[in-house]
């Protein structure tokens, strides 16, 4: 799948400026950048939530799904987990229950959770429900917009592991958006760096982290807080 020359303008302001990005089948592309750099707008354009110019080649727009940042805001508080997950299903009514259970087990949640309400779930569980809901639409491409930013580190690890196992099991292509370079580095095959609406650098993860070419990427890497002193 290729995003070609995609731009988004709000009035006179260009939020996304002529972005071209390839997402290979079964690969995870990480998108990093500061707030306001246009990451989420790009995601919303690709999912059809905001109008854009440019082209998206090689993906059925109905088969692009998105998981949002805040798992507390992205599930309707008045719908059970099962009803939320069933929302995007295109299967006969009779098969729904089984399909919801299958999706929940895919994200390692017990089927008994289907009857519960989001407020009874922890943040990590909610985010898994959101992933299950997106998977229900059998996406070709899954867009994950800051899906671990609202989670605790103790939970973030489990969600990141889930993302990686889904890639292995379902060969799902993914656009993984985060401001956290360490997280992006951990899950992505390719990293794209966005600054002021434009892509400044794209490359295989290890290469980009080890020898960045753009100045902006370098300053971003330098600012990452590190718990362990950098290896000599």
């Amino acid at each position: 799948m290729i995003i070609k020359n995609l731009s988004v303008r709000f009035g006179g302001f260009t939020a996304v400026d002529d972005v071209t990005l390839e997402i290979p089948a079964g690969g995870i592309v990480g998108l990093v950048g500061e707030s306001g750099s246009g990451k989420s707008t790009l995601a919303r354009a690709v999912t059809g939530l905001v109008p854009y110019t440019g082209e998206i080649v090689g993906a059925d727009p109905r088969r692009i799904q998105m998981v949002f940042q805040d798992p507390y805001a992205s599930l309707d508080p008045r719908m059970t987990v099962g009803a939320s997950v069933a929302e995007g299903l295109r299967v006969p009514r009779a098969a729904r229950r089984a399909e919801v259970e299958r999706l929940l087990s895919l994200v390692s949640l017990p089927a008994s959770l289907a009857g519960r309400y989001p407020r009874e779930l922890s943040g990590g569980q909610r985010q898994r429900v959101a992933v299950a809901r997106a998977l229900g639409a059998r996406p070709d491409l899954l867009i994950a917009d800051e899906i671990t930013s609202a989670l605790d580190v103790s939970v973030q690890g489990a969600v990141l592991n889930l993302i990686r196992s889904l890639r292995e099991e379902l060969r799902l292509s993914m656009l993984f958006i985060s401001h956290n370079l360490a997280v992006v580095r951990y899950v992505s095959d390719t990293v794209a760096v966005m600054h002021r609406g434009a892509l400044v650098e794209t490359g295989p993860t290890e290469q980009l982290v080890a020898s960045p070419t753009a100045d902006y990427t370098r300053s971003l890497l330098a600012a990452v807080p590190r718990l362990r002193p950098t290896a000599p």
Partner: protein, 602 residues
């Protein structure tokens, strides 16, 4: 429903219940005496048998006021129903229609809201024919635009929520989104407002009847009775008093109840501090600026989110508090600053520079917060007033607390803005906070803390909403400020990497308790508590092996209402033994700056 325990909403509830009972029973009990014509007692004033007098047919006015309750309330309810039936669908339209239709619908609502309601009501009442039907229709239509506007605002916020976006991405139809997502989520706030609208229609309808545009004889409501009574107000004022009191009380009842419910829903909290504590505070001889002893925060219902926290911070030292969401970090900070929201109860002792904070009066505490305490939150706008220029806000601290003149205070404000590296401070001081970026707002908050001489800086996730590059600048600034002023700094964050870079010492909290304290150098490889070690291991950083799964901590933290006899971490701990489930490990000191609460710790 806790709000109903405070006096105003409770009075509202009692009034409304009373009037509803009256509406049900009134005509049954007093219907006959209200209709009994007595030629011998025409237009009488107050007397023992007729406390409010009689009307021109000799009917008892008190009975008539009581009986009129049913019609008055019924008409108000009908007109509110009309407002709802017209207003709510109109208000939902903008979030239901495609963009062009939505704009048109919003335009219609705007135009209707701008039209004077009472004029519309009177006009409709006259066109529809004098009488109760016209008045109800008129008031109902007059109330519809406001309801439509309210519905529009509520629906728009729901329509912008992530769960509606998610439904749209999943291809759910607009109609289905309105029915399944929007309506259920706006129902509750709408219902709260219905009480207020009921009160309004009651007043409006009484007004119309009073003007002769509403209920016509032989029927009567309060407004009609008021009109008849007012004709003779100079002779028998009590004839008008009955209906006037009834209208006033009923309207007040609905308003009090409505506002109480709305307040309960928005959960506004007032600041209360329980000063019963203090006995636990041992006067520590250490040079600690801040010492906290046995600090607990409890909420009604058995939740104790902070449990017996002890910690000390030395001058110029930055102590980090880490722990997962809900571990009580923020409440600990609020308790130290005396800002725990109602109805939280704080026990235990906090002393700042040897002064016992729990012994201070609320006024002294406010002064202390203004002069010696600087607080930063994740959202700088909790500290900054959006309606005031930044310079004026900073200056206000010094005019209130340091007795500076306005001019001197403003000079100091500009100087402090320069100190926190805000370029062109003089111009910036004249701007409002919205003209500042997120990072600049946090700088302004730090500058505000520097207007006095902060002894203690409490920073609760001040960089969580900022970009890494800006975060780095703010962390450097915090470090400089702490060094320069010698303040004690408490830095709260869920990001251990940030704490690792900034702080001297780290306090780890779990389920409301301190479980470990250690120098920052030992965080990566010298932690003794299994929870600290698991936290560190689960954090991906720039050197994590990408071929291995990340370490995780299965299970979840106990809620603030759960408190077993054992170690709170036992259910998630690899090293747990029977002893861990049976008894809680005490927090023991085992070296300078080192404490741990674990049976298995070395």
């Amino acid at each position: 429903m806790r709000a109903l325990r405070s006096p105003a909403p409770l009075a509202g509830l009692l009034l409304v219940t009373g009037f509803v009972a009256l509406a049900l029973l009134g005509p049954v009990l007093w219907g006959q005496s209200a209709a009994r014509i007595d030629d011998a007692a025409i237009l009488q004033g107050h007397s023992p048998s007729h406390p409010f007098g009689t009307d021109n047919l000799g009917r008892d006015l008190l009975a008539r006021v009581l009986v009129a309750t049913r019609l008055s309330l019924l008409l108000a309810a009908l007109s509110t129903a009309i407002s709802l039936i017209v207003g709510v669908p109109l208000g939902v339209l903008p979030s239901l229609l495609p963009p062009r239709g939505a704009r048109a619908a919003a335009g219609v609502i705007n135009a209707l809201v701008a039209f004077p309601g009472l004029l519309l009501a009177m006009f409709t009442a006259i066109v529809a024919g004098l009488g109760a039907r016209g008045a109800v229709l008129g008031m109902g239509l007059a109330g519809a635009p406001m309801l439509a506007r309210l519905t529009q605002t509520l629906a728009a916020s729901v329509a912008n929520s992530d769960y509606v976006s998610a439904a749209r991405v999943l291809g759910v139809s607009r109609r289905r989104i309105a029915l399944r997502h929007v309506l259920p989520n706006i129902a509750e706030p709408l219902l709260l407002n219905v009480t207020l609208i009921l009160g309004g229609s009651l007043l409006g309808l009484a007004g119309l009847s009073f003007l002769g545009l509403g209920v016509q004889p032989p029927d009567y409501d309060w407004g009609r009775l008021l009109l008849e009574g007012l004709n003779r107000v100079y002779v028998d004022p009590e004839a008008a008093l009955g209906p006037a009191v009834a209208i006033g009380l009923a309207a007040a009842g609905f308003n009090l109840l409505g506002e109480g419910l709305a307040k309960a829903a928005s959960r506004t909290a007032s600041v209360v501090r329980d000063a019963a504590a203090g006995e636990a505070l041992e006067q520590v001889a250490s040079q600690g600026v801040l010492s906290v002893r046995g600090l607990s925060v409890a909420f009604p219902g058995g939740a104790v989110p902070v449990r017996e926290v002890c910690l000390d911070v030395a001058p110029g030292e930055i102590v980090g508090i880490v722990g997962e969401s809900g571990s009580g970090k923020s409440l600990t900070a609020l308790a130290i600053a005396g800002l725990v929201p109602h109805p939280g109860r704080v026990t235990g002792g906090v002393s700042l520079c040897g002064q016992d904070l729990s012994a201070l009066s609320p006024r002294e505490l406010r002064r202390l917060r203004g002069t010696s305490l600087a607080m930063m939150f994740q959202d700088p706008m909790t500290t900054l007033n959006p309606a005031m220029r930044v310079g004026a806000q900073l200056a206000e601290v010094s005019t209130t607390h340091h007795g500076l003149s306005r001019k001197d205070a403003l000079t100091r404000a500009v100087d402090r803005l320069r100190r926190v590296s805000i370029a062109r401070p003089r111009e910036r001081a004249r701007q409002h906070p919205h003209a500042f970026s997120g990072g600049m707002r946090q700088r302004a908050v730090i500058a505000m803390g520097l207007m006095g001489t902060p002894r203690l800086v409490i920073a609760d996730e001040p960089t969580t909403a900022l970009d890494v590059t800006v975060q780095r600048q703010i962390l450097c600034l915090l470090r400089e400020v702490t060094d320069e002023t010698g303040a004690a700094t408490l830095f709260i964050s869920h990001d251990i990497a940030v704490v690792g870079e900034l702080c001297h010492r780290v306090v780890v909290m779990y389920a409301g308790r301190v479980v470990e304290e250690l120098p920052v150098e030992d965080l990566v490889s010298g932690a003794a508590h299994p929870y600290t070690r698991a936290l560190v291991a689960s954090l991906p950083d720039m050197d994590t092996d990408r071929s291995l799964p990340l370490a995780t901590i299965p299970g979840r933290q106990p809620s603030p209402t759960e408190d077993g006899p054992g170690c709170a971490f036992a259910a998630r701990c690899d090293l747990a033994t029977e002893r861990c489930a049976a008894g809680r490990p005490p927090l023991v000191r085992y070296g300078p700056e080192r404490r741990v609460a674990c049976w298995e710790a070395p």
